[in-house]
């Protein structure tokens, strides 16, 4: 009984982790950017979605849609205000762009977090479930919302797979992650591809934020934790590898759920962190990394 409960809860939380990490890893794969404002962007989507849904009485779906748009807007802002100026900067030596993008997005993430804290206080908010009710799944009473969230996550990940592997734009993304210079030589403009990947990232991060608000609840104090967990999942799976991130999301999700159920909820993040340290030492390229 408990095993089944762990199986179901772990599946849903892992799907959400996976969705949140996929966009993060795609940006790294395509443009080499580690976006430490990730948690902040999810936070914006979650809080604005919650705010619209609860104060204008629009229902959870419209709220979620506005939240996703807000996440997308925030992702664009991050790209145009912080990332692109650093990438194009002539004052900075090219070798230091990476370090500056890390510090720049870190600062940007803090600005977002403080602003959200100012606007919405730091009380965690939970969105009204999009799919109310409880389903009896082989004797385990599971909220319908939880099942639907896992389903939405996987549907979106499936769509993403189609987009990347079956469309022309997606193939350009793939090519950019393999050899950006070759792609430019073939006459494709990299900046357009970057814009596309940031659009995909914004939608994914926004959706993940909104779903998180509806599943577990989010507060402005969580932003750092969200970034750290996406960062760890992505490194665990191998930087830039989408399938690696998904595998890692499940490893982390289940480790956390098992710890929370069987040992103690307070120890929840620790085994995953230890595993991460271990993997990084033994196999720095991550589970499915290319390098």
């Amino acid at each position: 009984m408990l095993a089944l409960q762990i199986l179901i809860d772990g599946f849903a939380i892992s799907a959400l982790y996976g969705l949140a990490a996929v966009g993060f890893t795609m940006i790294f794969g395509v443009s080499g950017v580690l976006n430490l404002a990730h948690g902040g962007i999810m936070l914006v989507a979650a809080l604005i979605g919650w705010f619209v849904a609860s104060s204008f009485d629009t229902g959870p779906f419209l709220g979620a849609a506005v939240g996703i748009l807000a996440g997308l807007g925030m992702a664009y802002l991050t790209y145009f205000v912080v990332v692109r100026p650093i990438q194009r900067s002539r004052i900075l030596p090219a070798a230091e762009h990476e370090i500056f993008i890390l510090t720049g997005t870190l600062l940007w993430g803090i600005m977002i977090q403080v602003l959200m804290n100012y606007l919405f206080t730091d009380n965690p908010v939970t969105m009204r479930p999009m799919f109310p009710g409880v389903v009896n799944l082989l004797g385990v009473r599971t909220p319908r919302n939880e099942i639907m969230i896992a389903a939405i996550c996987w549907a979106v990940i499936g769509l993403l797979w189609l987009l990347v592997n079956r469309t022309r734009a997606g193939k350009q993304l793939l090519a950019a992650s393999i050899n950006p210079r070759g792609l430019t030589l073939l006459g494709f403009e990299l900046s357009r591809i970057y814009l596309l990947v940031w659009t995909i990232y914004g939608v994914l991060a926004g959706l993940a934020g909104v779903l998180l608000a509806s599943f577990l609840g989010v507060g402005s104090a969580n932003a750092g934790q969200l970034t750290a967990s996406a960062f760890s999942i992505v490194v665990l799976g191998g930087l830039g590898s989408v399938s690696g991130s998904l595998v890692a999301a499940y490893v982390v999700g289940y480790l956390e759920t098992i710890t929370a159920y069987l040992i103690a909820p307070t120890l929840r993040p620790i085994p995953a962190l230890l595993l991460l340290v271990l993997v990084v030492y033994v196999r720095p390229q991550g589970l499915l990394g290319r390098r």
């Binding site: 912080v82 900067s89 720049g104 600062l107 490194v235 962190l273 990084v280």
Partner: protein
């Protein structure tokens, strides 16, 4: 850079030290308190700069070393009741051992991987403090029975003297052959290794120096505040503030990091009327500095002169 090393630099330094040391005669007790914390922060930022600016490694976990030193000293003092100097030495040893344990494997990694491992180290330390709450006081923190001094002036001089001594040692180190090798390995590790320098050994040395000063500063901060808590010495937001201070003041200058820390804490106080938004403004200023003057305040000053 000639500005800082020539005889004129010595005069400027002497003047700054004299003005700083005379603080208690012309500053209010309130400002003295802010500056005392700022000086310890300055040491944090300087030891971070040695690792980031020179060795080129993003250490997201300066508070891992600071927290080890602070809690090591605080626990020895509150459980065994040893005198403060012994506790400080113990704290430094704890920070050094923890630093080496972290650095030995971590230095095999580079860039984002190194950053992530140091970040995880902080999260693990934070969790450990909460789990062993019966010794560490958990999330609330612990008080220590002894304090450095109850006089604001004496505390100020302790902090100022400590910062000046640290600045001289760290700055000297960065100008020495070791500092140059570190800088070379930060910019091009392969070429530095090809020239016959043991890159890992030098980076490990930098990490150890960073650990000693961070741990000592963390311990002294605890005995100044009379308490150790996650929020003051371990939390990631402290790490972020250290990073902002060092980048704001100017990377690869060591002294700039201290300048940045003092500026940051004073700006934080000055912007207090803004309430929660003061962090927003400070971060925005730091971001603007990164985008437009990546060399930081001191770097801009020095490079401006050279051109």
């Amino acid at each position: 850079m000639a500005l800082l090393t020539g005889s004129r630099g010595l005069w400027i330094a002497a003047l700054v030290i004299a003005i700083g040391a005379s603080g208690p005669w012309w500053l209010s007790v309130y400002i003295l308190g802010v500056l005392t914390s700022a000086y310890y922060f300055g040491v944090f930022a300087m030891s971070w700069d040695l690792l980031f600016g020179f060795a080129g490694e993003v250490n997201f976990g300066p508070t891992f070393l600071i927290g080890l030193g602070a809690y090591g000293a605080a626990i020895l003092n509150s459980t065994m009741g040893f005198a403060i100097p012994i506790c400080l030495v113990f704290g430094v040893v704890v920070a050094l051992v923890g630093g080496v344990l972290l650095a030995l494997p971590a230095l095999r990694l580079h860039g984002p991987y190194f950053g992530l491992v140091t970040l995880v180290a902080v999260l693990l330390l934070q969790n450990a403090i909460v789990i062993f709450a019966h010794i560490t006081g958990g999330e609330i923190g612990m008080t220590v029975p002894d304090v450095l001094s109850i006089s604001a002036n004496v505390n100020y001089w302790y902090a100022f003297g400590f910062m000046v001594v640290s600045a001289i040692i760290l700055f000297g180190l960065s100008r020495s052959a070791i500092g140059l090798i570190l800088q070379a390995s930060g910019q091009d590790a392969i070429e530095a290794a090809a020239l016959g320098f043991n890159v890992t050994k030098h980076k490990l040395a930098a990490f150890c120096v960073s650990a000693v000063f961070s741990g000592l500063a963390g311990g002294m901060l605890v005995f100044y505040l009379g308490a150790a808590s996650v929020d003051t010495v371990v939390d990631l937001s402290i790490a972020v503030q250290i990073i902002i201070a060092a980048v704001l003041g100017g990377r690869r200058t060591i002294l700039g990091a201290a300048l940045g820390a003092i500026f940051l804490l004073l700006a934080d106080e000055a912007l207090r009327p803004l309430g929660q938004l003061n962090t927003f403004v400070v971060s925005a200023v730091a971001l603007a500095v990164i985008l437009f003057f990546p060399d930081g305040m001191l770097g801009y000053l020095l490079h401006g002169r050279e051109q």
